[in-house]
């Protein structure tokens, strides 16, 4: 693995998963120049199998829930999950809708939540730097001061294969269908 300039940390790969939102967080992520990612020691990838970090923006819609879980399950450990914006953490302004399951909080182990609607690119970069610079042992529980998140137990991570326990639902639980041939996110 190559190292980012001026650092002994190996380059890490980052996958962005856009959920149900206005697309504002995705716009701010795209506003970050390629060389700024490189300076941070990150490269963007398109496939979960190649990713060390999963950046989720937008709320977890009921239609997308299985893909989010499959995407996280397909990533090899060690891996970290970052929630960008209010929607990704708890559903934000879309919480409570029939189509919205909620956010990542309490569902998957969020290592870092970057608040804002949407957060500025500079904040995204500085918070990610904070996460990457944290010692490994603490990395899973890194929280920004503004968002007091209860640490999600590692046991909440769904197993690599087999059925996923249904998370608490706002409406009667949606039925699950077997993985469709189209879900490339399942790896």
């Amino acid at each position: 693995m190559s190292a980012p300039p001026g650092s002994d940390r190996p380059m890490l790969s980052l996958l962005h998963l856009g959920g149900g939102d206005c697309g504002g967080c995705a716009l701010e992520l795209e506003a970050i120049a390629p060389d700024a990612w490189e300076t941070l020691g990150l490269r963007l990838v398109a496939v979960p199998r190649h990713a060390d970090l999963l950046l989720v923006s937008g709320c977890v819609t009921r239609t997308l829930l299985r893909s989010v879980e499959a995407c996280w399950a397909a990533m090899a450990a060690p891996k970290q999950l970052v929630a960008i914006g209010a929607c990704a953490l708890d559903g934000g302004p879309f919480r409570g809708g029939y189509a919205v399951e909620g956010g990542l909080d309490g569902r998957l182990p969020v290592a870092l939540a970057i608040s804002g609607c949407p957060p500025r690119p500079a904040l995204i970069l500085s918070e990610l730097r904070r996460l990457l610079d944290a010692p490994d042992a603490e990395a899973e529980t890194v929280r920004p001061g503004s968002t007091a998140l209860a640490a999600t137990p590692a046991a909440a991570v769904p197993p690599q294969a087999g059925p996923v326990a249904p998370p608490p639902a706002l409406l009667p639980a949606a039925p699950r269908r077997p993985l469709g041939a189209g879900d490339s996110s399942a790896g």
Binding site: L17, L44, T63, L64, F94, A173, D183, S185
Partner: protein, 467 residues
């Protein structure tokens, strides 16, 4: 067949105007009986009257036509037995709208092909969520269906699925490609993953609060959505806005369009592997977003526009900084175009349709938006930006309004029905929705590796289409 009572004018628009005139503001809405709606469907086969969008409020189906560049014309028909007569045989572009009406209301269009789901993947835990009595969820949920002709199968064409987590478009979408040899024979997008049910979330909310949801329909045209929603509410309530609020909405709209056109150009260049060439337009866009933040308090200008005007006064120092920067950026466009043609011409020309042509057209639109923004800015004469909503008062009775605003893909429409200031029903038409149908056509004949460039250069957005 013609109806004897309709008079001499055979046009579809004249037929609509024979209906009962209903008090929608600022343009009237016409209610047709079933017989005249059926005649409308027949006349549309020979008439060119453009149909923009079609929606439902549970009791009636409404169709928005354009009878001239600035003259919307809305026709409505009552829903009987959860059915209405389809208009998509004459206007295939509204097929997506008819599929959405079925998904959200359980109300079916008659006399058209099979209405496959558009938004509903069977995972909401209920069906027909906007209907007063939503139905049960299908069990088991039906897997999405993708068409494949016997001919394609016989030639050994293979189907390839991409997404919903993918890097082609920001936002979740599944693309099903039918690849015949080394070319795409068919592309079928499956949307709905980003559907948040905004119409249901808006329902029952005070119109001023619902503006925050309108701002979050699609960040790529957030100002346009906020403006169109505010205009619909203001029209319904008969509220005036100050000249300054109107001018500043125009300014914000052009700033948003200039920034988004530059961003689409950056996306296209990055998709072509030209990160270095993308640097200057990305820097110009960052400059614009910084100006927006200093003048209006938010880079993407969210929560800036409310029914009645603007949420707050702009910063005068922020506004003062805009003029020289707008002029500097407009002056930089010709050299940006020359450098684009020199450095990116070979990689873009003739690829994914013609990406170079689309990129150059984007620069021309950016330049126009920058100049229009400057004109709005010079027209700003100062003064108040908000006519206080409570002071104007919400009408107690049910009122309806239609509002429009220019977005980067064309005119965007919001329709609202208010009851005592609360949203009773609403509909949003984002012109990005028909763009997904355009993708189906533009992708045919390309090699799959050109798809990222095509998606970037069309400027597709999931949020505005899924809502």
């Amino acid at each position: 067949m013609s109806l004897p009572s309709l008079g001499g004018d055979p046009s579809a628009a004249a037929l609509i105007r024979t209906g009962d005139r209903l008090p929608m503001a600022p343009w009237a809405r016409y209610r047709l009986n079933g017989e005249r709606w059926a005649e409308l469907g027949r006349r549309l086969r020979a008439d060119v009257l453009p149909l923009v969008t079609l929606w439902c409020d549970g009791e009636a189906v409404h169709a928005l036509f354009m009878d001239g560049p600035d003259l919307p014309l809305v026709a409505s028909v009552a829903v009987e037995g959860r059915r209405y007569l389809s208009l998509s045989p004459a206007r295939p572009a509204v097929l997506a709208c008819e599929r959405i009406v079925r998904d959200l209301w359980g109300i079916e269009a008659m006399d058209t092909g099979a209405l496959l789901p558009w938004l509903d993947h069977g995972l909401w835990g209920l069906s027909a969520p906007l209907s007063p009595r939503p139905g049960p969820a299908p069990w088991p949920p039906e897997p999405p269906e993708f068409e494949q002709t016997g001919d394609e199968a016989a030639r050994g064409a293979t189907q390839l699925g991409i997404g919903p987590v993918q890097a082609l478009v920001a936002g979740p979408v599944h693309l099903r490609l039918t690849v015949d040899g080394d070319r795409i024979a068919r592309l079928q997008p499956l949307l709905g993953y980003a559907h948040r049910g905004i119409a249901a979330l808006m329902r029952g909310r005070q119109a001023g609060d619902a503006a925050a949801l309108a701002a979050r329909l699609d960040a790529e045209s957030g100002v346009a959505h906020q403006t169109a929603f505010a205009r619909a509410v203001e029209a319904a309530c008969g509220w005036p806005v100050t000249a300054r609020a109107d001018t500043l909405r125009g300014l914000m709209g052009e700033l948003e369009r200039a920034a988004m056109e530059l961003h689409q150009l950056v996306r296209t260049l990055r998709a072509a592997g030209l990160d270095r060439v993308a640097g200057p337009p990305a820097a110009l866009r960052e400059g614009l977003l910084g100006l927006c933040e200093r003048a209006f308090g938010h880079r993407l200008m969210m929560d800036a526009i409310v029914p009645g005007g603007l949420a707050r006064l702009p910063s005068e120092t922020g506004l003062a900084g805009l003029l020289p920067e707008l002029e500097r950026q407009a002056a930089a466009m010709p050299s940006l175009r020359r450098s684009l043609e020199r450095k990116a011409g070979r990689r873009l020309a003739g690829r994914a349709g013609d990406s170079l042509e689309r990129a150059v057209a984007r620069l021309a639109r950016t330049e126009r938006a920058l100049r229009d923004a400057r004109s709005w800015l010079l027209a700003d004469a100062g003064g108040a930006v908000l006519v206080d909503a409570p002071a104007q008062g919400w009408p107690e009775e049910a009122v309806e309004g239609l509002g429009a605003a220019a977005s980067r893909h064309g005119t965007l429409w919001h329709w609202v029905r208010l009851q005592a200031g609360h949203v009773a029903a609403s509909h949003v038409h984002d012109p990005v929705l028909p763009l997904w149908q355009a993708l189906e056509q533009s992708a045919v004949g390309l090699v799959p590796s050109e798809l990222p460039l095509l998606c970037a250069s069309l400027g597709l957005s999931v949020s505005g289409a899924d809502q």
